[in-house]
């Protein structure tokens, strides 16, 4: 952490035992191992204690909302990968459902089940990285190696399904890009079976680890009232004792059919946030297993999506109907009704919301992305004050944010 400069003007000067003390300004980031991307914290320190913290964000601002206003709805799907790039499948789904609400499309049960399975796999993958990185932040290297091994297995399954490991672009408005390959659900089930005992092993490395508990318990405590007032969502909100999970409270994509529990923390500290994420992975496995057990047959896209969803290339080349459909979509763009919708999905980091304003035609007039990491980081000036500098690292790790989503 480079010390920028100490400025005497703003410092509370007072003589203590003959020494003059002054506050120090410390700039942490934007490239710092514990800022998980490009977050900069401009802090004011009194010795080791943080007296003021001002997060500086925007280093990864790409203007996604401006870009969205200049392309058709399906063209924006790849941009959603790059919001929370640790869980692109969940972002794809959230965006698709928001636009489907606008287009009044109902997707078939098979498509819903595919989306639930992929979103929960994305949640496991995101939480694994979150825990691994959190472990490194507080000095536990081993967890990262274990969790990345498991994450790699998930990425193999993503690659088989979507053709890409990282930026999946799998959802389409009114469906998903392609059906699951033969035997894929069995392989996902096999992953779940071998993952559960390994997850216990990974969590055992931290849960009763004295160093980890000392570094996280009682650090970065967020009260229930603060969590709600600052608009925190996801595991960070639940760790503060608010049992709010949109999968249960505002079910979408058929989440109401599955049995799962919502883990809730008691103290709202970093340790609780860790415990909540750990338990969420177990619950995600439960959901995936149920979805696979009753995996429905049928179409993986909505028939009504024909005016939005480009047909398969082989059909375009051989069938008149599909050729006309493809031509209309390419030349005129999809035709959407005018109106406003707002949809939030429970993503690994919290509630990812899309506010779509349409004036009709194929292009959104306004697409606001409500990023959970943006809201979760807005509480930093409050939780960091009074903490030690080394605790700030632990707090950042426990909040588990992604700058791609925060800056958009």
């Amino acid at each position: 952490m480079p010390v920028e400069h100490a400025f005497p003007d703003s410092a509370a000067k007072h003589a203590q035992g003959g020494f003059e003390t002054e506050k120090m300004s410390l700039s942490m980031g934007p490239s710092h191992p514990s800022t998980h991307g490009v977050l900069r914290l401009q802090m004011e320190l009194d010795g080791e204690i943080v007296t003021k913290a001002d997060p500086v964000i925007g280093y990864l601002h790409r203007g996604d909302e401006k870009i969205a206003e200049n392309m058709t709805y399906n063209q924006f799907v790849p941009y959603t990968d790059r919001l929370d790039y640790l869980a692109p499948l969940a972002n794809n789904m959230a965006y698709a459902i928001a636009v489907e609400k606008l287009a009044k499309l109902e997707v078939p049960a098979r498509c819903q089940a595919i989306r639930v399975i992929t979103a929960e796999m994305a949640r496991i993958s995101a939480h694994l990285l979150g825990l691994g990185a959190f472990g490194i932040d507080v000095g536990a290297w081993t967890v990262f190696l274990y969790s990345f091994t498991e994450r790699e297995k998930l990425y193999k399954l993503f690659e088989e399904l979507t053709g890409a490991r990282f930026t999946t672009s799998y959802s389409r408005i009114g469906g998903v890009a392609r059906d699951v390959p033969p035997g894929w659900t069995d392989r996902v089930g096999a992953f779940c079976d071998q993952f559960l005992p390994l997850l216990e092993e990974i969590l055992d490395l931290l849960t009763r680890n004295k160093i980890f508990v000392d570094r996280t318990a009682g650090v970065g405590v967020i009260s229930r009232a603060d969590a709600i007032a600052y608009g925190l969502t996801g595991p960070n909100l639940r760790a503060s004792g608010v049992p709010l999970d949109l999968r249960k409270d505002k079910p979408y994509s058929g989440y109401e059919q599955y049995e799962f529990d919502i883990p809730v923390g008691a103290n709202g500290d970093g340790y609780d946030r860790y415990l909540v994420r750990g338990e969420e992975m177990r619950q995600s496995v439960r959901i995936i297993k149920q979805a696979i057990a009753k995996f429905p047959e049928g179409k993986w896209y909505a028939e009504d999506a024909r005016r939005i969803f480009a047909p398969r290339k082989d059909k375009v080349l051989t069938s008149m109907e599909e050729l006309i459909q493809n031509f209309m979509i390419v030349t005129e763009g999809p035709q959407m009704p005018a109106g406003e919708v707002y949809f939030e999905a429970e993503n690994p980091k919290g509630a990812l919301g899309f506010y779509v304003v349409s004036k009709g035609g194929g292009v959104p007039w306004r697409l606001k992305i409500r990023a959970p990491s943006f809201c979760n980081l807005s509480i930093l000036p409050r939780v960091c004050v009074g903490a030690m500098v080394s605790d700030v690292v632990s707090i950042l790790g426990s909040l588990d944010f992604v700058m791609g989503e925060c800056d958009r």
Partner: protein, 208 residues
């Protein structure tokens, strides 16, 4: 959604300026800026809408009147209802809106973003400065009259710019935006293609 409908009815009865807003999903109301804080405060304290999930600006085009609207999305952690509140800024050149930071600290960053992107001034905001763009950036990039390619600006740090001899330039439009124009009779114009092809990486921008 009874709780949200009740809240809407109660708010409309108490503030006659509040009107229904067309919406495809959640209940939505238009609120005059003068009543905004009172309405939001009443929804928060009396109707259980304890969470402010989102605040964003909308630009209805450079010619529209009113041009800017601020849209608030409220959520209740008890009844799990959403509610959309929209307030139109009276002035298009100097849009202003009362700040909701006293009600929800969550409004702080959202309002800074709306200011950053649209130039909407939130009166009463404790620290209204840019959040995603850098301090001193001269434009409001999400306004409809701001081009997708961007505008050339000075780099924020003059020393860095002098040392590296770089500046920001507008993005070449060779790659897009590939937007089809619906309802176009002339199919050549209707084709999805980059609308501004006057300059690319290879052909210099006119006038430079």
């Amino acid at each position: 959604m009874p709780a949200a409908a009740d809240a809407v009815a109660a708010v409309k009865a108490r503030w006659p300026g509040v009107t229904d807003r067309p919406s495809l999903d959640h209940p939505a109301v238009n609120v005059p800026p003068a009543d905004l804080l009172a309405v939001l405060g009443s929804l928060q304290s009396a109707h259980g809408f304890d969470m402010l999930t989102d605040v964003c600006g909308v630009d209805w085009s450079a010619e529209a009147n009113p041009r800017f609207t601020v849209v608030y999305h409220l959520f209740s952690t008890t009844t799990h209802d959403y509610l959309r509140i929209a307030a139109a800024c009276a002035d298009a050149t100097l849009p202003e809106m009362p700040s909701a930071t006293a009600l929800w600290p969550a409004a702080d960053w959202h309002e800074r973003e709306a200011y950053d992107m649209y130039g909407i001034r939130f009166t009463g905001h404790p620290d209204l400065r840019r959040i995603l763009m850098w301090d001193g950036y001269p434009y409001f990039p999400l306004r409809k009259d701001f081009p997708l390619a961007g505008m050339e600006t000075e780099l924020p740090d003059a020393e860095v710019a002098a040392e590296t001899k770089v500046g920001t330039i507008a993005a070449p439009m060779a790659g897009g935006p590939f937007v089809a124009s619906a309802g176009e009779i002339n199919l050549t114009d209707a084709e999805p293609r980059a609308k501004d092809e006057s300059w690319t990486e290879k052909r210099p921008k006119p006038g430079t």
